[in-house]
């Protein structure tokens, strides 16, 4: 109970510190923090339309975060999400552009599957290099991001370029391929794909706690050698985790295109989702449920930043500064909490049984 109170207080403290920091920044550029706050609120949750945008934009961030969580639990820290989002998006776009006249349900499923397949294949290269050649996944994935970006640049100027003008972007996707939005929200900004947030979070928790596959993933991530010595194939677990993680990122790419505001493939469609998704997962401390919240916080910073720019002429780079401040402050809070926990050893239930624990936990520390 007390621990929970401490945690809540710390998080409130982080929020307060972030607000204070934001207020100081705004004052420094001559904008009233009060006005900015109301502009921010109206831009993010002030109207159903804007709230829909905020929630819809949280989905790709959340999907990437889940990708990070599953790979990290298996001990495979790859950072190939930008590339996997891009390739997943490209694959989904290639399929989506052919979907004119195809029934909506078929088109949606085909695009989503193409996105998943694209991301998973791109991650599969990382997994294969790791499993067969021992190439560190963090390095190969980072470099493959660059390849993916160049591939996208070529695709939007070559095979996938729209025929109407010479812009480096594809033609508009056919209406039948776009993901449906809630009709009652004005502007149809709330895509139905937000139901993925609770469903996938619950699914991932179930996978980790209730399935042999999830258990083997966690065991391999916890201690690769111990997993191998007890009959688990940690290479298979690691490869699966990387590939699934890429699948999530690829789906995020498809969601960006088919549930976003711009229904075409362009060079900058990834918009930093790949790395921000990692931050979302880290801030949620690898909790799928926590990732729902942090993804919404991140997307509201994005959306709110846009409205600040529109209403009060606040530069959009300020939003990035704020995002950075949130990350740093949350990490500081996490560190403070950990130090508190380390300073106060767990109080034993019975002295007889805990003498050993105290000594050994001190030894571990």
């Amino acid at each position: 109970m007390k621990a929970l109170a401490v945690r809540v207080l710390t998080q409130l403290g982080v929020a307060a510190a972030t607000l204070l920091f934001a207020a100081l920044l705004l004052l420094a550029i001559g904008v009233s923090p009060g006005e900015a706050a109301s502009a921010f609120w109206s831009g993010t949750f002030g109207s159903p339309t804007n709230a829909g945008t905020t929630l819809t934009q949280a989905v790709p961030l959340f999907l990437v975060a889940l990708g990070w969580i599953i790979a990290d639990k298996a001990g495979r820290m790859h950072v190939g999400f930008p590339g996997q989002v891009v390739i997943g998006g490209c694959a989904a776009a290639a399929v989506g552009l052919q979907c004119d006249g195809v029934p909506t349900v078929v088109a949606i499923v085909a695009c989503a599957l193409a996105g998943i397949a694209g991301g998973a294949l791109w991650a599969g290269i990382v997994a294969w290099l790791w499993a067969s050649r021992g190439v560190l996944e963090i390095i190969s994935s980072l470099l493959l991001n660059l390849v993916a970006v160049q591939m996208l640049a070529w695709l939007v100027r070559g095979p996938l370029q729209g025929s109407l003008d010479q812009q480096p972007q594809s033609a508009n996707f056919p209406a039948s391929a776009l993901w449906p939005a809630v009709e009652s929200v004005p502007g149809r900004t709330l895509s139905y794909d937000v139901i993925l947030l609770p469903i996938l979070a619950a699914g991932l928790i179930w996978l980790f706690s209730r399935t042999v596959f999830g258990f083997e993933l966690r065991a391999s991530g916890g201690n690769l050698d111990a997993a191998r010595w007890s009959g688990i194939n940690p290479v298979r677990a690691g490869v699966s985790a990387i590939v699934i993680s890429g699948g999530f990122a690829g789906l995020a790419g498809a969601a960006l295109l088919f549930a976003g505001s711009a229904p075409w493939l362009s060079e900058g469609f990834e918009a930093g989702i790949g790395f921000n998704g990692i931050a979302v997962a880290l801030l949620a401390r690898n909790s799928p449920v926590g990732a729902i919240l942090t993804a919404i916080v991140f997307s509201s910073l994005n959306v709110g930043g846009t409205s600040l720019q529109a209403l009060l002429d606040v530069p959009s780079s300020l939003t990035s500064v704020l995002q950075g401040a949130v990350i740093v402050l949350v990490l500081v809070a996490a560190m403070l909490l950990r130090r508190r926990r380390a300073a106060r050893p767990a109080v034993p239930v019975t002295p007889a049984s805990t003498g050993k624990e105290l000594v050994s936990s001190a030894k571990e520390a």
Partner: protein
């Protein structure tokens, strides 16, 4: 072996108390260590030895009580202060940088000015230490190329170079072969003879009686007794340590060997592509209902034998049969499926997953198959019940099955591993150094469980560097030296002398 009457008191602790929350780790401890003596500090896991030594070396500060060195009161806020005062500790896990040479490790002392090159001074100090104690190091050898015994020697030289006069050894024999231990024992005596004070923390009474002058036993955080080695008996100390007399080891029923459980034939395993083989033409039989011990000094091929049978390491040639079935493509999964179980030597690295719970570690293998898992889905309630039941049955002390494994003490982790490996009713258990680092009571527990397993008709392959352990438990003993089985003895005819003779014999006699 009595205390030199001329030597004065080195370190005196009086009324040292240390509390963690509601738990008292050290309770009014009085301890007197004299120059020129080897003082053994004994106690079960969790008796407070580690905490006390951390106070002495300045890692912890006592809540109550005083320390005095050479009669003057001292208090250390930091480890450097204790070291400067002449108190140094040789840790179980060495504090060396493997990628540097031995001399560079010595030169890593805190320097007065950061840009001073400490090598020349270190070389001079090392020469002085060698002249005084005969401890010779190889200055230009990389630490990663040194053996465990050589690293320990370097660690000792390092402390002596920094002026340590009181040396604390924390279970120094845990990593050493018997030969290296004999060297170390001699060194401790020599250090004491030169007027140093030596504190030896150990679980092994045979070691204590071989080198120590005096002993102090801690139990439950308090001093249970102290006295001279001369005039004390091992039984007396064991009684003090555990607070009750353990039942004497039962006279065991004679083995009733049945079907062969493990059959190894002409196994050849490579160590380095162009060096001697790790295993050469090894033949080994372990039958149901018997314990076969493998005696040999560390590095004779034990690790390779285990890894090859388990399926982690490829063999050049030879066959491994388990339960009458030849293991063709050896994998750990295949080994376990055929009825094998393994208690590995290196608990931290290959046996437990510190970040997972006690329950998950106990169920690490059972959880992945029926009845706990069906079609890939885990029955969480059944898994928890099984973990709780086994934790109780194997006397694992924890706050619950959901406690993280890393929070458990070494002895309790080992009991959890034992629970995991023996609970599946395996045909064959391979136990490698199963009681390493455990206290008297936990050791007795492990021995009892292994013997019970054998009495139920299971086969046990016991691999240990501790000859007494092998002799006490085994029905047959295979002697392994330089990768070859030098001979197989029945328990009745096995004596230390005969085994020793086989270990040193240069040609195959089996």
């Amino acid at each position: 072996m009595t205390t030199d009457p001329g030597s004065g008191s080195a370190l005196r602790l009086s009324g040292i108390t240390k509390r963690f929350g509601a738990f008292t780790a050290n309770d009014r401890i009085d301890l007197d260590i004299a120059w020129g003596e080897v003082h053994a500090l004994l106690g079960e896991n969790g008796a407070g030895k580690t905490t006390l030594m951390r106070i002495v070396t300045g890692l912890y500060q006592p809540d109550e009580g005083t320390m005095s060195l050479d009669g003057t009161p001292v208090s250390f806020r930091r480890p450097e202060q204790a070291l400067r005062a002449g108190i140094g500790m040789v840790h179980q896990h060495f504090t060396l940088v493997p990628t540097l040479t031995e001399l560079e490790n010595l030169a890593m002392a805190p320097a007065g000015v950061p840009w001073r090159n400490g090598r020349a001074a270190a070389r001079r100090r090392a020469a002085e230490v060698e002249a005084a104690t005969g401890l010779r190091i190889a200055p230009d050898r990389l630490v990663s190329d040194a053996s465990v015994g050589e690293r320990q020697r370097l660690e000792i030289v390092k402390l002596l170079c920094r002026g340590a006069r009181l040396l604390i050894f924390d279970e120094p024999s845990a990593a050493l072969s018997p030969g290296e231990w004999d060297e170390l024992a001699k060194l401790m005596r020599r250090l004491a003879a030169e007027g140093h004070a030596v504190v030896l923390i150990s679980h092994k009474l045979s070691e204590v009686f071989a080198v120590a002058d005096r002993w102090t036993v801690l139990r439950g955080g308090a001093v249970a007794g102290t006295g001279d080695i001369a005039g004390s008996t091992p039984e007396q100390l064991v009684t003090l340590m555990v607070g009750e007399s353990l039942a004497p080891r039962r006279e065991r029923a004679p083995a009733a060997p049945g079907e062969p459980a493990l059959v190894v034939r002409e196994l050849n395993v490579e160590r380095h592509p162009d060096g001697p083989q790790a295993l050469e033409d090894v033949d080994l039989d372990v039958r149901a209902g018997e314990i076969v011990g493998i005696a040999g000094v560390a590095g004779s091929g034990q690790a390779e034998l285990v890894e090859t049978v388990l399926g982690i390491r490829p063999a050049l040639s030879g066959s491994v049969e388990l339960a009458g079935r030849r293991l063709e493509r050896r994998t750990p999964a295949g080994f376990y499926a055929a009825g094998g179980a393994l208690i590995p030597e290196d608990r931290h690295h290959v046996a437990v997953i510190g970040g997972m719970t006690l329950g998950e570690n106990i169920n690490l293998r059972a959880l992945r198959q029926a009845p706990l898992a069906r079609r890939g889905r885990i029955d969480l309630r059944a898994a928890r019940q099984r973990a709780v039941r086994l934790a109780a049955e194997y006397e694992v002390r924890a706050t619950g099955e959901s406690q993280p494994m890393a929070r458990l003490s070494g002895g309790n982790q080992q009991k959890a591993v034992l629970a995991r490996e023996l609970s599946t009713e395996p045909l064959l258990v391979i136990a490698v150094q199963p009681v390493r680092g455990l206290d008297v009571r936990a050791t007795e527990f492990v021995y009892r469980r292994l013997t019970e397993h054998r009495d139920r008709g299971g086969a046990v392959l016991l691999i240990s560097m501790d000859l007494d352990e092998v002799i006490a438990l085994s029905d047959r003993i295979a002697v392994l030296a330089h990768g070859r089985i030098r001979g197989v003895l029945d328990a009745g005819e096995a004596t230390r002398a005969r085994i020793g003779a086989l270990m040193t014999s240069s040609e195959v006699t089996a």
